[in-house]
Amino acid sequence: MAGAEVRFEDVWKSYGRVVALREVTLTAQGGRITVLLGPSGCGKTTLLKIAAGLLQPDRGRVYFNDLDYTDVPAERRDVGMVFQDLALFPHMSVFDNIAFGLRVRGIRGLELERRVKEMLDLVGLDRSFYNRRVTELSGGQQQRVALARALVIEPKVLLLDEPLAHLDYKVKQRLLEEIRRIQRSLRITTIYVTHDQLEAMSVADVVAVMREGSVVQVGPPREVYENPKDLYVASFFGDANIVDSKFAGLNSEGLVALRLEDVILNPNESVDIVYEGVVEDVVFQGAFVSLEVNVNGRVLKLLVPRRDFAREDVSVGSRVRVGWRLSNVRGFNGVMA
């Protein structure tokens, strides 16, 4: 089930006077997971629906493997979609939900059974689930049914709209792994919409950061994280301290970003810039400790690994030093370290 490449060319979409998408040009590579990441209202779900054929763009074209699919309606596009609210058919059993796409295509009998059962195995649901009502299942189980339903028709593209939005943390982690595993084994082109940057980082081959209808930056997660194009990407994908470049130690104007983990507490290793400050807040967050340090009126946020924090005797009110390397300062628009 290799996937088709989905290409958006200059796509525009408006709802009345609100422009939901402006000039979006993006390629979702065949066989890869492309994540559309952005806050609510940035247009990511609209773009997904255009990929599905549920919405038509006002301007621009959509190509599947270089074939113009812009005017092809959803029911003929051969895409599998998982919705945020799952949209399982409550009046049908698990089996019937998954079988729906096959039945609609005229597949029945033994082949129908075989394919549905195959899919149930793939998503990790056993025989006891076949005849259960979907309304009786847990969130995680329903999510698996929704995935199975979308994949059983062997679509060209898999579209996921915030599929893990309503799930518990642990269930979310597990399903994230499952989705990766399934996608890897089927090698199906996947477009995944989310506002959660951690989800994006866990699952994406390529992440497209969106804002107010436009795609701001596209690239593999690590690249976008380490080289954000602008302030927005720097603070949306990962977290950063936004300070002026002179304060950060650069000989230039403008604002720069310092990732929280790049600000070192009481550094003894080589850093280029050091300041003294007072600790204003300490929050234990498991693997990390989050600190707020006031340096001459500016509040910097740090993320200190738990082990390193344990070595220091730091609490609210302590005087500490903070420092960073110039090479970790992220400048934009020509502001260089």
């Binding site: 629906k49 599905a52 054929g53 549920l54 309606p73 959803a74 029911e75 003929r76 596009r77 051969d78 895409v79 599998g80 979609m81 919705f83 945020q84 609210d85 949209a87 399982l88 058919f89 409550p90 009046h91 729906f100 796409g101 609609v104 295509r105 009502r133 309304t135 339903r149 979308a150 028709i153 579209l159």
Partner: protein, 260 residues
């Protein structure tokens, strides 16, 4: 200090008294009259037998049933697409407006509307008769079919149609596999309601039916109020009531499992 319970009892007492005197007492009186032969001063079942065995009454009953069934089917055919449109394509303001458009006329007294309809039909050249009767019945019972179906369809999660479409469902599949199953509880409720109510409808057949307007409603009316045949009229009314209640109970029992 008056207890909570006594206050509750006192607050429902007026309603209970009203129902008891204006509804249940007359109904009991009706039952009594259906067994009581005024002329011989004795209780008898002969009126029930007469009504059940007399072919004249049977014809009227069958005729009324035909009209009721036609009304059910016609209102169903008209309201199902509208309800589907309202729930699937309409949002917010448009949906509310449509709901208003289809229900506010029925705030006006139905006798006035029946007369208005009659004048309108006259202008279109339709005189009292079968066509006018059917049109009037359909017009009068649309909300009773529309609202239950709309309520059933409104439960549909918004993305269900999207999901079905991405899975390849065309219009036919959408209707057969998604819309109708969801609407079914409403269809059944609406159909039962319209069937039973239109069976004994009085105003429309009288005003718009002309010579073709002699259905159960006018028959009972004639027997009791015009023809002084209280006992036969009462017997007929009781029979129809009992059958209607039984039908409603059976329909509810039979189709309760469809609710999801």
């Amino acid at each position: 200090m008056v207890s909570w319970r006594s206050r509750l009892v006192l607050s429902i007492a007026p309603l209970v008294l009203t129902l008891a005197t204006l509804f249940y007492a007359p109904t009991l009186a009706l039952v009594y009259y259906s067994f009581y032969d005024r002329f011989r001063g004795a209780l008898t079942v002969e009126f029930y037998l007469d009504v059940l065995l007399n072919p004249l009454y049977a014809n009227v009953i069958i005729y009324s049933l035909n009209i009721a069934v036609i009304t059910v089917l016609a209102t169903l055919a008209l309201t199902l697409p509208v309800a589907a449109y309202m729930t699937l394509y309409s949002r917010g303001l448009e949906r509310v407006l449509l709901l208003v458009v289809f229900t506010t006329p029925f705030w006006i007294d139905f006798l006035l509307r029946a007369w208005a309809l009659k004048s309108l039909l006259y202008m279109l050249g339709v005189r009292e008769g079968f066509l006018a009767l059917i049109l009037g019945m359909i017009y009068d019972y649309i909300p009773f079919m529309l609202l239950p179906i709309y309520a059933s369809l409104a439960r549909m999660p918004p993305n269900i149609v999207y999901a079905a479409r991405t899975l390849g469902a065309g219009a036919l599949d959408l209707w057969a596999r998604i819309i109708v199953p969801y609407a079914l509880p409403g269809i059944l409720v609406g159909s039962t309601l319209v069937l039973l109510m239109s069976l004994t409808e009085l105003v429309i057949p009288t005003l718009l039916g002309g010579v073709r307007g002699f259905t159960l409603g006018p028959l009972i009316y004639t027997l009791i109020l015009a023809g002084d045949e209280w006992s036969r009229g009462a017997a007929l009314a009781i029979i129809v009531t009992v059958l209607s209640v039984l039908t409603a109970i059976l329909a509810y029992r039979r189709f309760r499992g469809l609710m999801f």
